[in-house]
């Protein structure tokens, strides 16, 4: 194939994970032209049919999502007794699921924003679907506190509004902080995601072959023409929102941690919870991407854009975050021992050897031990090792929330009030259903929205930076 001036090419299967100190890395394999980037991404949306495997995945996910909504209906009409929640464990699976999903929800925006602020060019391959996971995880997370209040039709009482009863939310309660924080975060993350898509939506508008498609993408792209003025304002807006989103994510994930940490219950009252929840959010986000990126690029033929180097970097950061999470676990154990307090020590002994020992050990092994395999390059480059590691990390993070919420409060200060928590089939069904909802939305996103940020990938191609040294492996 003849390439235009400055366009370069390496084979699609080119190993770009090698270390070359002098040359910048290759971040797109195959023919690295603007046109090919547009074609690779747009054809997924423009094709009359999705790839064959998309359909069974979608129907399975949609079925589980349907189960979730059916169970919500059952819970609303029957009452919260359908769950395993009982005194002293009033939080149960709904709040575990909420904290689990809100952790993933924090990750996508944070990943995208932080990588933007740190000038990490490889972010362009993964940022769009990282942000998408944020939005869909927020949807999953938001459902659970809404139904956990018992009478969801009164959930609006959380909002401060003037009323004839003179009721006003108690702002000393972290649950109120949480509602406001998550609400704000949802708004900003949707804005960040949508703002990032505008130029690509305009590309789809300009390529549209039907009036309907042209109208829909025309409305969504908000009149984007790609003028220099547009780009100047756009770049600045994206950078400002990235800066704000980074601070916001740290604030919101820390706020979620205060649901527990402001209490006096051993196992909940830990001053390290705010950074633990933030680090855990980033960790679970990278684990999600590590798990999802392999099937996405295989199913939609995006290996040129989501290259081995992208996944190698994702795996390295997952390992890094796992190490910090593991550090916090060890500090928790150390401090409980160091406190000399019988009650602080008991909590951790109960975690490890009490009735929910399996959750604590799973937390430690899945989050702390298994990710250590990613120290090895061969493991990072092998999809059937790296992707399951991502899945283990997600399972580990769910177990971490189980340990915090269930183990601590079922064995509090008063032994006479100890009570074993047993989840019901509704609890398990809702958990599975939330995954169904997440994957339903994610699969729809992959089919109908640009899954990779086309204009951002183009901005890092060599022809966009003709003054830089040539990339490693590039034709000289």
């Amino acid at each position: 194939m003849t390439l235009a001036v400055n366009e370069v090419s390496v084979p699609v299967d080119f190993d770009n994970t090698g270390e070359d100190i002098i040359h910048p890395p290759v971040l797109m394999t195959g023919e690295a032209s603007y046109k090919r980037v547009t074609t690779l991404v747009s054809r997924i949306i423009e094709a009359p049919k999705a790839p064959a495997i998309w359909y069974p995945c979608f129907f399975l996910s949609a079925g589980l999502a349907g189960l979730l909504f059916a169970l919500i209906g059952y819970e609303v009409f029957t009452g919260v007794g359908v769950w395993g929640n009982n005194s002293p464990q009033g939080w149960g699976f709904p709040i575990i699921n909420f904290v689990f999903w809100v952790g993933i929800a924090h990750a996508g925006t944070l990943i995208s924003a932080i990588l933007l602020l740190f000038r990490q060019k490889w972010r362009t391959g993964i940022n769009r679907f990282a942000e998408a996971t944020t939005v869909f995880a927020v949807v999953c997370a938001g459902i659970f506190p809404g139904i956990h209040v018992g009478r969801p039709w009164f959930a609006y009482w959380l909002a401060p509004y003037p009323n004839i009863m003179g009721d006003w939310p108690n702002f000393y309660s972290p649950l109120l902080w949480d509602a406001l924080a998550v609400g704000t975060y949802t708004t900003v993350s949707v804005l960040f995601w949508y703002l990032g898509m505008i130029p690509d939506l305009a590309t789809l508008r300009d390529r549209a072959t039907t009036r309907f498609r042209h109208t829909v993408f025309g409305i969504l792209s908000m009149g984007w023409r790609g003028s220099a003025r547009h780009w100047k304002i756009y770049d600045r807006a994206l950078l400002v929102i990235a800066g704000l989103a980074t601070c916001l994510v740290m604030g919101v994930s820390s706020t979620v941690s205060t649901d527990f940490a402001v209490s006096q219950i051993p196992g909940w009252h830990e001053t390290i919870f705010p950074p633990l929840f933030t680090v855990g959010a980033i960790f679970s986000g990278f684990a999600t991407i590590l798990f999802l990126a392999y099937p996405v690029r295989a199913i939609f033929g995006l290996k040129s854009l989501i290259t081995d180097r992208h996944l190698d970097n994702v795996a390295k950061i997952t390992l890094f975050m796992a190490s910090i999470v593991f550090y916090i676990y060890l500090i928790e154990f150390f401090t409980a021992y160091y406190s000399g307090s019988t009650m602080e020590r008991y909590v951790y002994l109960n975690w490890m050897f009490g009735p929910y020992w399996w959750a604590a050990w799973a937390m430690l092994v899945f989050n702390g031990v298994i990710p250590q395999v990613l120290w090895f390059k061969k493991a990072r480059k092998t999809w059937w090792i790296a992707a399951p590691v991502g899945l283990f990390c997600l399972a580990g993070m769910w177990c971490e929330r189980f340990v915090i919420i269930i183990s601590s409060i079922t064995h509090d200060f008063l032994p006479s009030s100890w009570h074993h928590f047993v989840p019901t089939w509704v609890d398990y069904g809702m958990l599975a259903g939330s995954f169904g909802l997440f994957f339903t939305l994610f699969l729809l996103f992959c089919r109908f929205v640009p899954v990779v940020a086309m204009y951002e990938v183009k901005s890092i191609l060599p022809q966009s930076h003709v003054h830089l040294p040539k990339a490693a492996g590039e034709k000289k």
Binding site: I21, T258, H269, E270, P274, Y327, Y338, G340, W375
Partner: protein, 438 residues
């Protein structure tokens, strides 16, 4: 591989890249100041007739401050390799010089040893047997295990810093890219090791000053206070060298801006962890936790607490925000000195209020932690808590600080004059020199 001499010609003359005789001169000046200041600190401390109690606390505060500079510099160097950073290549050698101070720091730790019993109540077995909670900690808080831990920390810090610097200097000689690749390869485990060591030094040397107090976040909070230091010292060191005609066109406003941004980010990170600790302890209101803040809420200490909050967070939050504050050298120098001062004040407030617990009466009050009420302390004991703020005590602290920082700088100049002020054969150096912020 490029010839080293050719690169040197491109970078500038030998006078611009090496300290040469100026290094010896500055080394002598700082060493002289350091010795005189420490001798004076000892003299003033002895004149307080408190069995050198205040001197030990002042010395420990200054030592922690110097440790923070060296440890953060080492963390910076390892991070540079781990993240394959290019902008920071021009200041890497200066950071390696600051990070090479762990052997002198180990020597300078020796004067603390005779004061251990004054500084750390847990050195007394009788004290540790005074309450069940304290008794439960004897497995960790005992002199033998403490010495073993310190030896391990020293071995890790000295070993890793020597490796980082020697490999870098050897690359100046032979120009092998493999050395840089090796440094990058080893940086991952070194990064985690040093992260742990800094956290544990904070737990061992600062948190245990008050053995009845715990906070899960305190080691990480100490790490945040430590990590900021290098970004305050590096720009000042670079400016001083440029004023002396070195590295003139190599370290540019672009590099200063990035160092300023990192300084800003660490100051805010410190606030984040500090607020998390304070707010959660305030909210839960447990006596074994609030005792740490109640003692800092008494008398003049509350003023220092408020000043620290304003100086380390609120004022830099807005003051450092404009881009020019990080690009214009005098403005950045002001903020570096500002945050160094507040960084020291932070360590001062972590360590020195514990002077009161170094007395028999203080230990008795602290051991009965569940009945602890600092507002009900005997007047003599409350007065003791404020002792570090008396003029003679402040002078002792100031002299200790000047003395130890001067000795640290003397050794830094000794290391810097042994090689070029830049990693002259680092393949990333051209990219680093040409670096521009977007």
């Amino acid at each position: 591989m490029n010839d080293a001499s050719q690169q040197i010609i491109k970078l500038g003359s030998r006078d611009e890249l090496y300290l040469q005789n100026a290094g010896t001169r500055w080394m002598g000046i700082f060493a002289g100041i350091g010795i005189v200041a420490l001798a004076a600190a000892f003299g003033v401390g002895a004149s307080l007739h408190d069995h050198l109690r205040q001197f030990y606390f002042s010395y420990l505060t200054a030592w922690i401050f110097c440790f923070a500079i060296a440890a953060s510099a080492l963390f910076f160097v390892i991070g540079h390799h781990l993240f394959k950073s290019s902008w920071s290549s021009v200041v890497r050698r200066l950071a390696e010089g600051l990070a090479g101070n762990f052997v002198p720091l180990l020597v300078l730790f020796l004067p603390i040893i005779p004061g251990m019993r004054q500084l750390y109540p847990w050195m007394s077995r009788m004290y540790m047997n005074s309450s069940p909670d304290l008794h439960n900690k004897i497995g960790f808080l005992n002199p033998q295990f403490f010495a073993l831990r310190m030896a391990l920390y020293a071995a890790a810090l000295i070993g890793i810093s020597l490796y980082m610097r020697s490999a870098s200097l050897r690359q100046d000689q032979d120009g092998k890219v493999k050395r840089l690749l090796n440094l990058q390869w080893h940086s991952a485990w070194c990064y985690l090791t040093i992260f742990w060591v800094i956290n544990l030094v904070g737990a061992d040397l600062v948190m245990t000053l008050q053995p009845t107090w715990i906070s899960y976040i305190e080691p990480a909070f100490f790490f945040a206070a430590t990590g900021m230091m290098v970004y305050a010292v590096l720009p000042l060191l670079a400016m001083a060298l440029q004023a002396g005609g070195r590295l003139k066109d190599i370290i540019t406003a672009e590099h200063y801006e990035d160092m300023g941004r990192w300084l800003y980010a660490w100051a805010m990170f410190w606030t984040y962890l500090g607020f998390a600790q304070y707010m959660l302890i305030w909210y839960a209101n447990k006596p074994d936790e609030t005792m740490n803040y109640l003692i800092r809420d008494m008398g003049p200490w509350v003023i220092i607490t408020i000043v620290l909050f304003l100086g380390h967070f609120i004022i830099p939050l807005f003051g450092m925000l404009p881009r020019q504050c990080k690009r214009v050298k005098p403005l950045l120098a002001f903020w570096c000195i500002w945050l160094l001062f507040f960084g020291y004040l932070d360590f001062f407030e972590r360590i020195q209020p514990q002077v009161w617990s170094a007395t028999a009466a203080g230990r008795k009050a602290m051991a009965g932690v569940h009945k602890f009420n600092p507002y009900a302390l005997p007047h003599s004991l409350a007065g003791l808590a404020w002792m570090p703020l008396h003029p003679a005590a402040l002078l002792t602290s100031l002299l200790c600080l000047v003395g130890l920082v001067s000795l640290l700088l003397a050794h830094t100049f000794y290391l810097l004059q042994k090689g070029a002020l830049l990693p002259i054969r680092d393949p990333k150096l051209p990219e680093s020199i040409a670096f521009e912020n977007f």
